[in-house]
Symmetry: C2
């Protein structure tokens, strides 16, 4: 709405549920060229070889795909404006933020309570569309009013403040990135070495935020799920679209929790191997 | 966006800052006929005699005007669909809610914490515009998804639950309406009888939520403001557009607080009369 005129085209990468939703919404405002998709493989990888037309107004990516457990480990180089939905991995790793024209993210994963969205935008890409944008949807108005155009959701904003202070005290993004890598590494290592489990996505595209894995059949998956619940692991069941299991390792999750899960996977294999 | 096509017209009543903002936004989507305005009198009354064209898609009112302290005491009868911004007096009084086609309100006055909006809409008036509406802005999608189309701002929603339970325990809207009438009555009575103060709006249109009043000159207003602050009354200064003072008597404010203010006004008059 802010970036694309009706007769212009934008390039989108189709890597999962939220990427697909972004495509659907963009089509309301202009032409959309889906430059790559991993849909044919149930989104189990991040496409690498794709071309972005020079006249694309921007290239849109979803940096982490929560449901399928993939993540862009390398942000694509492009001469086009780069737009990213970072809802599920913002502030989890160091990136060259200067390479983005627009970043948007819901705060409810790594930043704070549900109810706040964060938008970081290069002012220079705004103000170039012809349509009338409702005041509340026009990023220029939010910039002008110091992000207080509307009555801010004060509690949710305050929780962001507390979370950001906590993140700073941890050593900031660089430090949390190392912890996140460590958490993901021990869990993927267990998945790769334990005969009962296997990762559900291509190794090089594995997400460090959402670790998705499956077992040989539904029966043993049910059994492991029950075992996990008995041992007070909650929310480990995978999304119905991807099946199996999903362990979300957002910033707030301590290493110890991952160690407990790994240990349970080992116990389960010893008893059921 | 949901109700008005580009070539259609809607009728708007211009009774204050938020009413004017509603007009500005509606103009992005269709034709707007401003059927009445009290702007020439700095919005110190609610217009009574105005005609709404039969072909207006709807009539829009702002039931309470916080900045100027006016309120529609009688909701206008109309054969058109009635649309109301009730942000600042929703759940403060009994109304015939069946007479509205659409009610919208920010929750932050009488319902809960900032960050939630409430929309009550007659399904039959939706789905009649030709434009493409972004998914998140289309009321039909929120209805379809049981108001959980997006990740809900859970804390703010929870505060609404607690506030609604509290309201129910008070005896509901009918009971709180009586309390609100009592609060407003004792304050307006003081304003009308105290020689130092006078109400700033036409009596019959006085708001029971926001009581606006002035004094003879800036000097004495500053003196009273200082006196109020010394006595731990906060937030009594009027909006810069209306000047003077504004006492907001939302549901959460107890009668005792109004009694303290009235008593201070009497003390001040005794010392400065």
């Amino acid at each position: 709405m802010n970036l694309l005129d009706e007769k212009e085209a934008a390039a989108y990468t189709d890597t999962g549920v939220w990427a697909t939703k972004a495509i659907k919404e963009a089509k309301l405002f202009g032409k959309v060229e889906t430059v790559c998709s991993s849909r044919e493989a149930n989104f189990n990888y991040i496409p690498k070889d794709f071309a972005v037309p020079n006249d694309s107004k921007y290239l849109h990516i979803t940096t982490n795909n929560t449901i399928y457990g993939t993540q862009w480990q390398k942000i694509p180089h492009t001469s086009n404006v780069l737009v990213a939905d970072m809802s599920s991995d913002i502030l989890s790793r160091s990136l060259d933020f200067n390479s983005f024209g627009l970043i948007y993210a819901g705060a409810q994963k790594n930043i704070g309570a549900a109810g706040v969205n964060i938008v970081v935008v290069d002012k220079n890409i705004l103000g170039k569309v012809k349509r009338s944008i409702p005041t509340i949807m026009d990023y220029r108005n939010h910039i002008k009013e110091g992000s207080m155009l509307n009555t801010p959701p004060v509690f949710a904003v305050y929780v962001c403040l507390l979370t950001l202070r906590w993140l700073k005290a941890q050593g900031g993004v660089a430090a949390i990135e190392k912890k996140n890598e460590q958490k993901a590494a021990i869990l993927y290592q267990e998945i790769d070495s334990n005969p009962l489990f296997r990762g559900s996505v291509v190794k090089e595209d594995r997400s460090k935020m959402n670790v998705c894995f499956v077992m040989d059949n539904q029966e043993i998956e049910n059994k492991f799920l029950q075992f996990a619940i008995e041992n007070e692991i909650v929310g480990i069941k995978g999304h119905r679209l991807s099946g199996g299991f999903r362990a979300s390792l957002y910033n707030a999750l301590p290493l110890e929790s991952v160690e407990v899960l790994v240990s349970l996977m080992q116990d389960f294999a010893a008893k059921n191997g």
